[in-house]
């Protein structure tokens, strides 16, 4: 299964790199760095804290360019922070790339030109969808790797419900601000 997921990641990466123009590289790197830092912010809940993934927000802002950006961010996370393993990088990447792409294709067009929807709501939808889709994919992977992980898979989905609410609020506010201050950032991502 690791092999299948890794080849899926490589396929997506190949497609995305072909779409990525060289002029977009500095922008993608810069925005990718923001997401890398943002995912390190710990939001206090009760005694502990959660980190957000921002898969939805990344998809909406970066479009297809989110895919190489996610891979690079994960690679750096493995090397710098010691999160996750080297071999499951392909699996982890897919868990974040697919929701990002989903949000890029479904939600990003809603932000362009005249849309009846408020930017905040589109951003919140991206945040929630990204978070839930990522946790569902993680749970699916766990469930597929053995019956004994089924309980863990259920726990992951349930524990991500409140996280999705938080991610929705943060992503919504982000998109609302970007829409007001620099709308071209959103149109740039949609085309990419």
């Amino acid at each position: 299964m690791i092999a299948a997921a890794t080849s899926g990641t490589l396929l997506l990466l190949g497609l995305a790199l072909r779409r990525l123009r060289s002029e977009q590289i500095p922008q993608t790197a810069m925005l990718g760095a923001v997401f890398f830092l943002a995912s390190l912010i710990s939001i206090p809940i009760g005694p502990g804290g959660v980190h957000l993934l921002f898969s939805g927000l990344m998809g909406v802002v970066l479009g297809w360019a989110a895919i190489p950006a996610i891979l690079v961010a994960l690679l750096l996370q493995t090397l710098l922070v010691g999160h996750g393993g080297l071999l499951v990088l392909g699996v982890n990447a897919l868990h974040i790339m697919l929701p990002a792409l989903l949000c890029a294709l479904l939600l990003a067009p809603l932000l362009r030109r005249r849309s009846p929807l408020q930017p905040f709501h589109v951003g919140a939808a991206a945040g929630a969808l990204g978070c839930l889709a990522s946790s569902a994919l993680v749970a699916m992977t766990l469930a597929l790797s053995g019956e004994e992980y089924l309980t863990a898979a259920r726990l992951i989905v349930i524990s991500h419900l409140p996280v999705a609410v938080i991610e929705a609020a943060v992503s919504g506010a982000s998109i609302a601000l970007i829409h007001r201050v620099s709308p071209r950032l959103l149109s740039a991502g949609g085309q990419a």
């Binding site: 990466l13 790199l17 060289s22 002029e23 590289i25 500095p26 922008q27 993608t28 790197a29 810069m30 925005l31 990718g32 760095a33 923001v34 890398f36 830092l37 943002a38 912010i41 939001i43 206090p44 809940i45 921002f54 927000l57 802002v61 190489p68 950006a69 891979l71 690079v72 961010a73 690679l75 750096l76 493995t78 090397l79 710098l80 010691g82 999160h83 393993g85 080297l86 071999l87 951003g123 053995g146 019956e147 004994e148 992980y149 089924l150 309980t151 863990a152 726990l155 938080i166 609020a169 943060v170 992503s171 506010a173 982000s174 998109i175 609302a176 601000l177 970007i178 620099s182 950032l185």
Partner: protein, 255 residues
């Protein structure tokens, strides 16, 4: 540019002369080998080997151990869950309606050893490479140029944007903002991230203009050009392969 990735770590002096490509390949092969091991004895041997290497290289520090915290939390969760969910083999203990099984404990311990051996080996081998070495080695190993460029720039801007983030957070702190889990906090955090994105878009346009000024046409010259493979690297490669072969062989013999 030449600062190692793990900024507060000393350079691994014994590994410093290894070709960066070899270090990446050994890390990858090590991970593949460790994950394929079946017998608890060989797993333990692999883990002890990594620990021994870290001690020899004087890399075992509290900073390194702190980096392992998220991994160990996950492993702890697994240790608590698996004995109850992997219901096979002998019973370990019973606690009310719950029954814990030895096989679950064994599996969880195995996973913990594997994960730690892989991650701990990654630090001295790849984590102490400089940014230029990493980019060069990846490029020479056949990674697409766009991806290498992206990696190099991302790594650079993480440092730049971290300073910007700290500046913004400081400004918020002065205004008595404390991050909580209420809606106001979350919205403010969203605005903070939005602001970082907007500013970084503008910054990236300036960077692109500056790069074009210096003749950027999709490629940056010089990535990985200064790497040269020495005879000693071949010896090191063979020795590493031998170590991996011994581990796999022992595992096959025992298992």
């Amino acid at each position: 540019m030449s600062a190692p990735l793990l900024l507060n770590q000393p350079r691994a002096n014994l590994l410093e002369h290894w070709d960066p490509r070899l270090r990446i390949l050994v890390a990858l092969l090590w991970a593949l080998t460790v994950v394929s091991l079946q017998h608890p004895g060989t797993l333990l041997l692999a883990f002890v080997a990594v620990l021994f290497a870290l001690v020899r290289l004087e890399l075992l520090s509290s900073a390194l151990l702190r980096r392992l915290l998220p991994l160990e939390t996950l492993m702890l969760l697994l240790l608590m869950l698996l004995p109850f969910t992997l219901q096979r083999g002998g019973v370990w203990f019973q606690f009310g309606p719950l029954t814990a099984y030895w096989s679950g404990l064994e599996r969880a311990l195995g996973v913990t050893l594997k994960a730690n051996s892989v991650v701990l080996a990654l630090f001295p081998l790849v984590g102490t490479l400089s940014q230029a070495e990493l980019a060069g080695a990846l490029s020479r190993l056949g990674t697409p140029h766009k991806l290498v460029l992206l990696l190099q720039l991302t790594l650079r801007y993480i440092g730049v944007l971290q300073l910007e983030y700290q500046r913004l957070r400081q400004a918020m702190m002065v205004r008595a903002f404390r991050l909580g889990s209420d809606l106001h906090s979350l919205k403010t955090l969203g605005w903070l991230i939005g602001m970082l994105l907007v500013r970084s878009l503008e910054r990236s346009e300036r960077v692109l203009a500056a790069m074009k000024c210096r003749g950027f046409d999709g490629r940056l010259p010089g990535i990985g050009e200064r790497l040269d493979w020495r005879v000693a690297d071949t010896t090191r490669a063979l020795l590493s392969a031998l170590l991996l072969a011994v581990l796999v062989g022992a595992d096959l013999l025992l298992g």
